[in-house]
């Protein structure tokens, strides 16, 4: 069985093998036990994974780490790196530092958003050209609203 996941560093494919009630991948073995998964690593140590799914995302806790793997249906495209600058949570725009047509360099402050009782500065992660600014100061934004658009320069 093949699964594709999107994580913080891009897409990863997993080729899962099944033998009896054991699943395996790259020398690691998994067995479902109730709502937990028992894992055996190649060196013989065992580990316990807790998993839960929310939407398309599998959350996995293992060895003190928490992973968030978005499962991609075969043929679909990951939404993880589409670069859309959307509001991470409901809030209010406090300040806008750029306007359409500005060129920005990575690290430039673009906007200040107030959310969860704190101010958050939104910073350009790459150089580029501002092609749209959707909100002005003091405007409320809902979660997921596109804030501004930057065309990446190479």
């Amino acid at each position: 069985m093949q699964h594709t996941f999107a994580g913080p560093d891009g897409e990863i494919e997993v080729e899962l093998s099944k033998q009896g009630d054991e699943f395996s991948h790259q020398g690691h073995i998994a067995r479902v036990h109730g709502e937990r998964i028992h894992l055996t690593l190649p060196d013989g140590r065992t580990a316990l994974a807790h998993v839960a799914k929310h939407g398309d995302v599998w959350w996995v806790h293992l060895n003190g780490h928490t992973f968030r793997w978005e499962r991609l249906e075969p043929g679909s495209v990951s939404t993880a790196n589409d670069g859309g600058l959307v509001a991470p949570m409901p809030g209010k725009v406090l300040e806008v530092f750029v306007k359409v047509g500005d060129t920005v360099v990575a690290g430039d402050a673009l906007m200040v958003l107030e959310a969860m009782k704190m101010e958050h500065r939104i910073v350009a992660v790459h150089d580029g050209l501002v092609t749209a600014v959707h909100f002005g100061a003091n405007e409320q934004v809902v979660q997921g609203a596109a804030l501004l658009e930057i065309e990446e320069s190479n």
Partner: protein, 502 residues
């Protein structure tokens, strides 16, 4: 004698106080906003009054509604917890004038300590050393900014801007260069106005390399004022504490005595009654300076409880009832560490996160205490502070406490919302934490470009195997109708965004 206690707060501190009241035999009343109906703390109270309003200002900060709730339920006392109305002298006064017991210090003590600029002046007069700096009393924005700019030149760089009504890092800015001053001062003022309705800002010299050491004090109505030793809370991010311990790893009995006596003097200078905390900066020179006094129970009070054996909330109840404190002389045993579990993305500039708590399984075992206001099935929303829980451990020695904390953090499972668990876990391995040489800039010094988790390849592979196995075995189908919350909660978008929010 039994009193009926209304707890004017929410979340974990409301749970802490409500349980203490129930154990002491006091009936309890909770107040909550509509979006908190069914929250854990409301289920711990004997009665709950729902407050009308759709913001914090119109619910948990609405003095009149809360007093009305006390009247309608026949409550005889009010415990404010921390935050919210806990340091509002006018609320304390209104509670007393309504004939209710205020579980806290007098309105006058709150006023003199709550206004940080007045507190600095009071401490100077009482002979308690304060950090070099300047207060600016101008109320008008434009002239205040001018006055602050002038003061900044006298204080010198690096400096710290602080809101006179501030707390919790709100309205605070560190400024390292004069050219950054204006923007920082405007931002601090704006945040202070938004958070506290008071934009007055003062300036302190930024003492780098210092430790944040605070002394817990207790004073009853029979003239007894004691200190319960220190907590070290140097490790902070965004000016908010994340790692606290008692006793301080580098503390000496002599310094504890000196700081304890200064804290007792500070409390006595304002005729303090109840539980309070006097915060100091301890410079590398061994000098200590008064920072501020928090006139209420403190988030990190559990570490003091664990090493002193004093139940601070029970003592608050006793003191408010006019009884003498029950605790004896200070006797410290072992070592306690607290970490604050936040719904935040530590790998992304500690940006707050939201989402459902699909799985929330705290670690178990002796020596572990968890103070929380949530449980599995709840959701983290943008409505309130993103602190999910305080994880506290006690062990006979500091080394063993760190060992226990590492194990506890490894075993803590939270799925559905991004948290700082892994950051806290790696913090426990940081050289400064292990050595006890942490300062207020440890996190910034150690991770100047932000923190990223270190993941072994084998763990990464195993996590992908677990996700694939769970998908193939259909494990989500059982979960969907089980412990997962019902409401329609959108997936947390933070972790899908590939950009920084510094």
């Amino acid at each position: 004698m039994s009193i009926k206690v209304l707890v004017a707060n929410r979340g974990e501190i409301a749970c802490r106080v409500l349980r203490a009241c129930t154990e002491a035999g006091h009936p309890t009343v909770a107040v909550c906003a509509a979006n908190d109906q069914g929250s854990l703390f409301t289920e711990l109270a004997d009665e709950t009054v729902v407050l009308n309003g759709d913001s914090i200002a119109t619910t948990y900060l609405d003095t009149q509604q809360i007093l009305q709730a006390a009247r309608s339920t026949g409550a005889s006392a009010v415990h404010p917890g921390f935050g919210f109305l806990s340091e509002r002298a006018d609320f304390a006064r209104a509670v007393s004038e309504a004939g209710l017991i205020w579980i806290g210090p007098s309105p006058e003590a709150i006023e003199r300590m709550g206004d940080k600029m007045t507190a600095r002046q009071t401490m100077r007069n009482a002979g308690v050393p304060v950090i070099p700096g300047e207060e600016v009393e101008e109320e008008d924005e434009a002239s205040a900014l001018v006055a602050l700019r002038e003061a900044s030149n006298r204080v010198g760089y690096p400096l710290l801007l602080k809101a006179s009504s501030g707390g919790g890092g709100k309205g605070m800015r560190a400024v390292h260069r004069p050219e950054d001053f204006d923007q920082a001062a405007a931002g601090a003022r704006r945040e202070a106005v938004a958070a506290f309705g008071d934009g007055r800002i003062y300036i302190e010299r930024l003492l780098s390399g210092s430790k944040h050491i605070e002394i817990q004090v207790l004073a009853d109505q029979h003239g007894r004022t004691v200190h319960l030793g220190e907590r070290e809370c140097s490790v902070q991010r965004r000016h908010q504490k994340v790692f606290e311990e008692a006793p301080g790893p580098t503390m000496t009995p002599e310094l504890r005595e000196a700081m304890g006596q200064a804290a007792v003097a500070a409390a006595k200078a304002v005729n303090y009654v109840g539980a309070g905390t006097v915060e100091f900066l301890l410079a590398p020179t061994g000098e200590f300076f008064f920072l501020e006094m928090n006139t209420r129970i403190q988030v990190e009070h559990p570490v003091t409880e664990l090493v002193t054996g004093v139940d601070i909330v029970r003592e608050q109840l006793r003191i408010a009832q006019g009884e003498p404190m029950s605790c004896g002389d200070l006797f410290l045993r072992g070592h306690a560490i607290e970490v604050r579990l936040y719904a935040e993305d530590a790998a992304n500039g500690f940006l707050p996160s939201i989402g459902p708590l699909l799985v929330f399984r705290p670690p178990e075992g002796p020596g572990i205490r968890l103070d929380t206001g949530v449980r599995e099935g709840d959701a983290v929303t943008p409505d309130y502070d993103p602190m999910l829980a305080k994880l506290i451990v006690w062990a006979p020695s500091r080394d063993e406490a760190l060992e226990k904390m590492r194990r506890a953090l490894d075993d803590f499972v939270v799925l559905g919302t991004t948290t700082n668990l892994r950051f806290l876990r790696e913090l426990c391995d940081a050289e400064e934490v292990v050595a006890g040489t942490t300062t207020t800039t440890t996190i910034d010094d150690r991770w100047p470009n932000g923190w990223k988790p270190h993941v072994e390849e084998s763990t990464l592979i195993a996590s992908l195997l677990a996700a694939s196995t769970a998908e193939t075995a259909g494990m989500h189908r059982a979960h969907a109708t089980g412990s997962a919350p019902t409401g329609d909660i959108a997936p947390n978008p933070f972790t899908t965004l590939s950009r920084r929010f510094p």
